[in-house]
Symmetry: C2
Amino acid sequence: MAETSIGTIEKKFFEYDKAIVLESEAVLDRFVLAYETYGTLSKERDNAILICHALSGDSHAAGWYEGDRTPGWWEDMIGPGKAFDTDKYFIICSNVIGGCKGSSGPGSIDPKVNEPYRLNFPVVTIGDMVHAQALLIDHLGIECILCAAGGSTGGMQALQWCVSFPDRIRSCIPIATTYRHSALQIAFDEVGRQSIMADPKWEGGNYPEGGGPDAGLAVARMIGHITYMSDKSMERKFGRQLKKKEYGYVFTQEFEVEGYLRYRGDSFIQRFDANSYLYITKAMDYFDLQRDCSLAQAFSHIKDMNFLIIAFSSDWLYPPYQSKEIVKALKMNGLDVTYCEISSDYGHDAFLIEFEEETILIRHFLEKVMRKNGIGSD
Amino acid sequence: MAETSIGTIEKKFFEYDKAIVLESEAVLDRFVLAYETYGTLSKERDNAILICHALSGDSHAAGWYEGDRTPGWWEDMIGPGKAFDTDKYFIICSNVIGGCKGSSGPGSIDPKVNEPYRLNFPVVTIGDMVHAQALLIDHLGIECILCAAGGSTGGMQALQWCVSFPDRIRSCIPIATTYRHSALQIAFDEVGRQSIMADPKWEGGNYPEGGGPDAGLAVARMIGHITYMSDKSMERKFGRQLKKKEYGYVFTQEFEVEGYLRYRGDSFIQRFDANSYLYITKAMDYFDLQRDCSLAQAFSHIKDMNFLIIAFSSDWLYPPYQSKEIVKALKMNGLDVTYCEISSDYGHDAFLIEFEEETILIRHFLEKVMRKNGIGSD
């Protein structure tokens, strides 16, 4: 464990040149997925773990891009000796379809017209994201993944994997997530979208590259950030601290928490595309595993799969009771489920912060799954 | 109790033609307060109750304006035989200073230049709002009010009355409120303000009458509305209900909850001024009774006053623990406090909905205060 980071890595691209039919029945003629891999695929090709990212994440889950000052978004969890141990596992993380970090999305060039798709990009679902990931897994020559894992929207994808491809996945780690978006979750997504679409610079989605609805996107991100924290974590981090000593009686940011939100909003617009924000939040809102049947029935095709479900006590955006519903529906199918509610004040963000407890839980869980399937025992 | 409404009423105006010094040390040369009264002032002038309104409220707490189709915002609570019984009490409700419903605020004409103040209106605090109310009470010839009551921002004003004018108030009913705005509360207010100020039509506050930042104000209101409800009340009211039968795979409102939020946003811009929204939320954010000392010390000048403090179990914007802090600090001063946490799924909005339980609590409390002070016993 001398090395704790996988070090420098590079983004790769998977180009799929055939058409796929989306859940909406729209056809996407071709697509690209940006992805990264860490660790080595075993010769039995049985140690692959798919990491699924959340709303604003991307394929860069771990390691460092040449010259970058910050590592991937789950660096604490992925690497030699870490929860997702790159000495043992072959880790794959791809940017979701609809995204803006190298995968096909509204900002990609539509080859038919040699212009960005913009809102002509078809609306995608969590199911479509997972479908594209499965084609990437095919491309990598992997029949069955050892595990799909992710927090928040990443957790939805992990669960969708089990429902869409029950024969191609051995275990699943959905973290701080839900089995269907609730009215509250839809509501927060919708005000974010409204904020973007109300910005005149959105121009019905047809903004020029580098000149989008920055103000609207920043407000959407600020709303998101509040929902990712908790009352307590905000109180501890900011309280009523002022940037200056006295009240200024002005409408510029005076409280530390205001400055922080503004900073997060401003930095987000540097790295994210407004239309992608619309597409991904919409996919989240459509997510509903019990749309056509009960949740237990939705899981009924899953056989002999192991689940580790993690929720956080102060997560009010994806509260533990939603994870418990998943646990119940899986247990109704006689499946092996470990549920853990981690006591944390960090709110929804905890899945990116509470890595010590997550590490212990995930390490043991993956070892159990390996043993059970007789993998890596030689 | 044949009549349950006070019937048709009219808005009145109190014009104060002298200068007042605000907490910011800015001077407001004159001001107007719009107000309404219901019931009759006793000849001892000892049965006056001040109702304080919340962020988007106004002086129209009860009764009907000639020709209007909806009554005042607390019609269920104010009237003959109701909690605030107009057969017994003289009820006063005034629009806050900084508001846009007849009281002086950023939309009022600055007599010096014969133009709206806009952002030249001085920033006001909860203390300033209460100061102006006290001058209205003087004008009405009332030495001491029987009670100040209100929910949310109205509760802050009620508490501020006790601190600012401990000799002029006999009892206080703060509902679903806090003693200081928390980081989370400031954060939600700030994204609302950012949404308004990011709208190009805000024009630095200098928008023409009837042509303001409607899109930004609507988003601010949508954010607010989410925080006024609870996960459960949203689930019960909307769940994942669609406006049409199937997913449309479009970015227009498809879920009922989206349509509702949009409707609330759109109707709000018809009745509220964007700059006033900035001023009132800023006053809320400055509110901090323990800014210069402990909360118990802040209450130390209060003698022999009765408190009824009400919180709601599912109110996550002004959670019960904040009310309990108020209870504790008042008890530290040996004051008579009744605390009640009403079990409700309605979230913060509960103070406008759970009127049956509120009515019982408030009726008994006010009768006790009357008896204790030997009022109305003849």
